[in-house]
Amino acid sequence: MTYETHSEKETHELAARFAATLRGGELIELVGDLGSGKTTFVRGVAEALGCKVKVKSPTFTVMNEYPVDNDKIKKIVHADFYRFEDPAHLEALALGDYSDDDTVIFVEWPDIFGEGILTPTHTINFEFVDEITRKIEL
């Protein structure tokens, strides 16, 4: 389903609805260009799941971990492959090690080297339409 949002608040609301469907153990790919709303979406999910820590861009750290206060989910891992230059590095990051029943993993720029690197449970596509509008396909 494709949704159109016209503000950060609307993206957060959509993310909160999506968060309600999560059970833990999901690996979610976020595919979209710069500024298309990926991190904003994760922020919305984190807030909906009771996260008290600020969700910021993971581009430089490569991977952020946020503790979360929810029945089924205790942690969000927020990764960003944007800065990767070498596919071998992805293997070394060992993202799989973070996978757990009470953890949800979000990955921005999973397609940096092309498709099929990860085996996600969900892929969400983001499109920057104009300065206030985004198209999000869940």
């Binding site: 991190t39 861009s57 750290t61």
Partner: protein, 345 residues
């Protein structure tokens, strides 16, 4: 007191030895892995990868610089966080092992604190090296700007910090890197944009200054990033001059917001010094503007040398040196863990 500093929070592996007497510090040695010719292939992204290689590299680096039994070293300081967990662990576990083996005290340091203490390090080429180094006076208003951080912090004294503002989304350095990519420039984006901006007209585009109208001291660069993206998309064929104009206008928007918010904070908190820290401190426009405004407000502005603005271990050793003045800051090696969410206290 001689302090060994170890830093592995993000892309770099660094070690340094700093000696201190009262508030005067001397850098005996400062080595950053990616800057070593032979290890260039291991530098760059993904500390996890680098972590494996860095473990191999860190011990030769230590062997060259320090006696096997740690004689001459008084304290071991290590970045315990924030940063990428597997990367942090390399440094933390190394530091713990050394502290335990040598029987020397161990001090965990917050990476942000390191950036602030870079201003206590002497400049390598000092005109009058026999005179004491001028160090920041408290309270100090610190603007930390790098690829991963954009924060305003008040330092009331050694180890006494209060965060008064931070970015809500992207860091300033990150905005530079991403806009550089949009403009087809090489990495690292910051210096490339600054270079291109010289030929550009900064008044051609009025990019948004995130949160400037709000009374708080937080930053937001995500909107600026998308505004530049949208502007470039609307332009069909972008000439070289137009690219330079975009770079200049973008740089101006970042510098404007950083300096104005910092000076607004200075007006409210009345600091005795202003510290500019982090990799983006290398930006000449930012430095010049902040130093000018500081002069007008009669507040001395401290900018560490570039080598100490980028991630390095000398700044960690410096922070460790001051932390070590209070033994309550020592930790049992066995109890120290890397903390990716570590914050300034």
């Amino acid at each position: 007191m001689k302090v060994i500093g170890i830093e592995t929070s993000c892309d770099e592996t660094a070690i340094a030895i700093v000696s201190g007497h009262k508030n005067q510090l001397k850098v005996e040695k400062s080595v950053v892995l990616s800057q070593i010719q032979t290890h260039r292939q291991y530098g760059g992204v993904v500390p996890e990868v680098a972590a494996r290689k860095h473990i191999e590299a860190i011990f030769p680096m230590l062997e060259k610089e320090i006696a096997k039994d740690g004689s001459g070293i008084d304290v071991i300081a290590v970045t315990a966080g924030p940063g990428l967990a597997p990367a942090l662990r390399t440094g933390v576990e190394t530091a713990k092992t050394l502290a335990w083996l040598w029987g020397k005290p161990l001090v965990p340091v917050c990476h942000l604190e390191g950036h602030i203490y870079a201003s206590w390090l002497p400049r390598s080429k000092r005109i009058l090296p026999f005179l004491p180094i001028t160090t920041p006076k408290f309270p100090a208003l610190c603007l930390i700007v790098s690829g991963g951080h954009s924060e305003l912090i008040i330092m009331k004294g050694h180890g006494q910090f209060e965060r008064i503002g931070e970015t809500l989304d992207d860091a300033a350095g990150e905005a530079f890197d991403k806009v550089a990519k949009m403009l087809g420039l090489k990495y690292p984006g910051g210096p490339e944009i600054a270079r291109l901006a010289i030929r550009g007209d900064k008044t051609k585009f009025d990019f948004p200054r995130g949160l400037l109208d709000r009374q708080n001291f937080d930053f937001s660069f995500s909107g600026l990033k998308t505004s530049v993206l949208y502007t470039l998309r609307k332009m069909n064929l972008v000439s070289d001059q137009e690219r330079a104009n975009v770079a200049a206008s973008f740089q101006e928007a970042v510098v404007d917001v950083l300096v104005r918010k910092t000076m607004r904070a200075a007006k409210e908190y009345k600091p005795k010094s202003i510290i500019l820290a982090g990799g983006v401190a290398a930006n000449i426009q930012l430095r010049k503007r902040l130093q000018k405004k500081g002069r007008e407000a009669r507040i001395k502005v401290f900018v560490p040398p570039f080598t100490y603005s980028l991630d390095n271990a000398a700044m960690i050793a410096a922070a460790g040196y001051f932390r070590a003045q209070d033994e309550k800051n020592f930790v049992e090696p066995v109890s120290l863990s890397a903390d990716p969410n570590l914050d300034l206290i």
